[in-house]
Amino acid sequence: MSAGKLNVPHKGGEGGVYFDANALKQLMEMTPHHTRIVMDGDDGQVIYAEDRDKVTAEGIDAALRIQAELKQVLLWRLEAEFLRSINKKPAYPEVGYFDWVMRPDDALDARANLEDAYDGWVARHGDRRANRIYRVQAFRLAAGYVLDRVSSRFGQIMKLVRFGF
């Protein structure tokens, strides 16, 4: 087997591929010439092994120890990204006119239902078309709401005209 060298620079700024501990060991054994294995750590920290010097058992042990720590860091980073992703507010199209034409509780309910439906539209039609459907359906919903309110008022007035006087 060819040479190996462990190097742990901080803030190296060099990207790399993440290998698990066993894959690293196997790769070092299988590749005899000029292999450079790069492991990506947290915040630009890069750990890489090169094949210029002999790979020693101590070297691999050290690599595996560092690898275990990196795994932990990677898990924390994934967890943080996951938490960020679930807290991130999805960018639903803006329908501010709901608050003008609807009662507050109706506007809230209509908006919430549109947002639920929007997720399905994104899955079925993609972002762009989902945005268009959202806007059209929001307008249709608001128009239906206003028409219902007007016709109900009109009905009340007609009742008053017929029986009230």
Partner: protein, 104 residues
């Protein structure tokens, strides 16, 4: 007599098990759409649900969702079930359900 959309909404609300939000009823309706057919418009479903509640074919309730928003839910009333039965009766008598797939 119920309209076609009203029939579909009552059946979807029954399928949802009651106390269903409009978005859940809409998803059931979309899931039942024939392949290649146009999806039912959400605005039409939402507006019709409220109109049917005003006509006492559905009852409207409230529930708080996981984001803390108060949401409307709908359940089919006895009057709604009767109206659906009346509406489906002629189709049943004329063997309409047996024709599904006959013209494919």
């Amino acid at each position: 007599m119920l309209g076609k959309l009203e029939e579909v909404i009552i059946m979807a609300t029954l399928r949802s098990g009651g106390n269903a939000m409009p978005s859940a009823i809409y998803e059931i309706i979309v899931g039942s759409t024939a392949p290649g057919s146009k999806e039912q418009a959400f605005g039409a479903v939402y507006t019709t649900l409220n109109r049917m509640a005003a006509k006492n074919l559905l009852t409207s309730g409230k529930v708080v969702d996981e984001k803390g928003r108060e949401r409307k839910t709908f359940t089919v009333t006895a009057a709604g079930q009767r109206a659906l039965q009346e509406s489906l009766h002629p189709i049943n008598v004329l063997g309409g359900h047996g024709l599904v797939g006959a013209f494919a």
